[in-house]
């Protein structure tokens, strides 16, 4: 009698159509996937969550020995203090100016070069492209000493231009643009050419309007890497009032009394614009990569 229930279950199980068993297993797998996704998301979100918590916590909290996962009192004090004690508005402005300049310059030049390498034939095209793309493998730090000497000799050390011009020198966008533009059907371009459109006109009126996902990806990647760039602005800028936000963050950390609540408040301010930009452009993100043949 005691062995009956398992036997009965086994007998019943044999009779269950295979589809039912499959569905039950499917439900188990589904639950497992949800659990995994929640755990992964929790782990990946935690550092950002912690940034927010510390930014809104009173100063003493950080140094208490007890474990506390949320602020005991919610305060805006850290934000008012960074604005009164440091030129945060200036730093924010510097970041905006530099990012806008670099992004516009880079994206325009990348699209133009990408069009040339994808659709126009000229002598030495492949060699030039290869040489340009080889710089993708070049660690920036290999040339930081000589770049520093170069901007000094050009007389732009310590100015916006010392950050903007070298930052706009990148081949990644050329590669992405070329791959994307090659995917545009030749017939469309051919038809415009037959109608008498010149190369500039074809580029502006035919190619660019078809490149929206590409442009979105280029803007997002360029703006993000410029906004967040650290090593080069650290070398190229010296005056406090020209600092970008990442350099400002390091400056705050170098202060005599390190105040991590203020640092996190500023880190949050520096992060939010990029989060917004990302949320606006993210639907193009996968698409832009997929259609560039990178997958």
């Amino acid at each position: 009698m005691t062995t009956a229930p398992p036997l009965a279950v086994a007998a019943e199980a044999r009779q269950i159509p295979q589809r039912r068993a499959g569905r039950r297993r499917g439900r188990g797998a589904y639950a497992l996937r949800v659990v995994l996704a929640v755990v992964a998301a929790g782990l990946l979100l935690f550092p950002l969550y912690w940034m927010v918590v510390v930014a809104f916590s009173p100063r003493a909290e950080l140094f208490s020995r007890e474990l506390r996962l949320w602020p005991s009192t919610f305060t805006l004090d850290n934000f008012t203090r960074i604005f009164t004690e440091y030129p945060v508005v200036t730093w924010l402005g510097n970041s905006v100016v530099i990012t806008v300049f670099v992004t516009v310059l880079t994206v325009v030049l990348n699209l133009m070069a990408g069009y040339a390498f994808a659709r126009l034939r000229f002598r030495g095209r492949n060699v030039i492209l290869l040489l340009a793309l080889s710089t993708l493998m070049l660690p920036v730090q290999v040339i930081m000493v000589s770049q520093f000497q170069l901007v000094t000799r050009l007389g732009i050390y310590g100015t916006y231009w010392a950050v903007i011009l070298p930052s706009a020198a990148t081949a990644f966008g050329i590669f992405l643009s070329r791959q994307f533009i090659i995917g545009i059907p030749q017939e469309i371009i051919e038809a415009a050419r037959v109608d008498g459109a010149g190369h500039v006109r074809v580029f502006l009126k035919i190619v660019l309007p078809l490149c929206k996902p590409l442009i979105a990806v280029l803007i997002l990647l360029t703006a993000m890497s410029t906004w967040n760039d650290f090593a080069w602005p650290l070398i190229a800028l010296k005056e406090n009032y020209l600092f970008t936000l990442p350099i400002g963050l390091l400056f705050l950390r170098g202060q005599y009394t390190v105040d991590f609540n203020m640092i996190m408040a500023m880190a949050l301010l520096a992060t939010l614009p990029m989060v917004l930009l990302f949320l606006v452009f993210q639907r193009y993100f996968v698409q832009g990569f997929t259609r560039s043949g990178i997958k």
């Binding site: 340009a132 040339i143 950390r253 640092i263 996190m264 990302f278």
Partner: protein
């Protein structure tokens, strides 16, 4: 008929555009347009990337310190590297860091991509959360890392103590400091790898899984025999991107540990920065950079050979 198919297949193969109507002047015009469109970007690349490489080689042959150009000392800086223990440790750390972060972040990225490509509630939200760390600057990331891993007041050690575990010496212990840098790097990197793998997975036709299931393949076999081969191109692309990122890791180490304790988290790039801009031995720093460049070139050559072999077998 043959001309037609050629003009169709050529642009798809990505070689050159279809033949144009018109004669020499049209071709000249096209070439002129090509140079003009490419020139502005190429000038910037030449001036700010290629020229500095040449000048870095020249500087590395000089005893340049402070603000002087220094004397020509041939391979003196390179000879000094050989007997510099900190250089060897930085090299070993760079290799170790790459060997750990690249496979781990790619495996995690692929796992998450498979997960995010399956049926899930609020999938869009999950995807956004996974990619979000990518948006945060290296400095801000590293500063959060400092907070989390602080030995005394860090949240991680508080958690460890709360569950009765031992608090770890994330700053004073070399191995622990290295681990903390690796963990933060993975946190940043996984999202990008997930996006690229996801793009690759979305190109895989569902029928392939259907037929694999009909053949009786279980989930692991489906992953092993369908998913893995089909995301091969993504893996290839990501391998190169991740190796470059790992070779060039700077912000996170510079801010989190400064290469310490001692030189236990120092990598070639942070060591080069220290020499070039802290102790201001530019010649020596340039030599370090050239070594990094040579390692990168060797890797690139291997990659090229592998990718050509791939193209041939495909």
């Amino acid at each position: 008929m043959t001309a037609d198919t050629r003009s169709l297949s050529r642009p798809l193969a990505g070689r050159s555009p279809a033949p144009r109507t018109g004669g020499r002047s049209a071709r000249l015009q096209e070439a002129l347009a090509g140079y003009s469109f490419a020139a502005p970007n190429l000038v910037l690349i030449g001036l700010f990337l290629l020229y500095p490489v040449v000048s870095a080689v020249l500087i590395s042959l000089r005893d340049a310190r402070g603000f002087g150009d220094g004397d020509f000392i041939g391979l003196g800086n390179y000879a000094r590297l050989l007997s510099d223990a900190a250089f060897w440790q930085s090299t070993a750390n760079t290799v170790l860091f790459t060997a750990i972060t690249v496979p781990l972040s790619m495996a995690l990225g692929l796992g998450l991509a498979v997960l995010m490509n399956s049926v899930l509630p609020a999938r869009g939200l999950f995807r956004t959360i996974i990619v979000l760390p990518m948006v945060v600057s290296g400095v801000a990331t590293a500063l959060v890392g400092v907070l989390i891993f602080d030995e005394g007041t860090g949240i991680l050690n508080k958690l460890l103590r709360a569950i009765g575990g031992p608090a770890l010496s994330w700053q004073s212990g070399g191995a622990e400091a290295f681990a903390s840098v690796v963990i933060i790097t993975l946190w940043v990197r996984v999202g990008f790898n997930m996006v690229i793998y996801l793009a690759g997975l979305q190109g895989v036709s569902p029928e392939l899984y259907e037929s694999a299931r009909l053949d009786g393949a279980n989930a692991w076999q489906q992953f092993r025999n369908v998913t893995l081969p089909l995301v091969g191109p993504s893996t290839f692309f990501l391998l190169v991107m991740n190796v470059i990122y790992s070779f060039q890791v700077f912000d996170i180490i510079f801010v989190m540990t400064g290469g310490g304790p001692g030189y236990s988290t120092s990598v070639l790039v942070t060591y080069a920065y220290q020499n070039g801009f802290v102790t201001r031995e530019q010649g020596y720093a340039a030599a370090l950079g050239i070594v990094l460049l040579i390692i990168t070139l060797v890797f690139t050559a291997l990659y090229w050979r592998a990718s050509r072999a791939r193209d041939l077998t495909d």
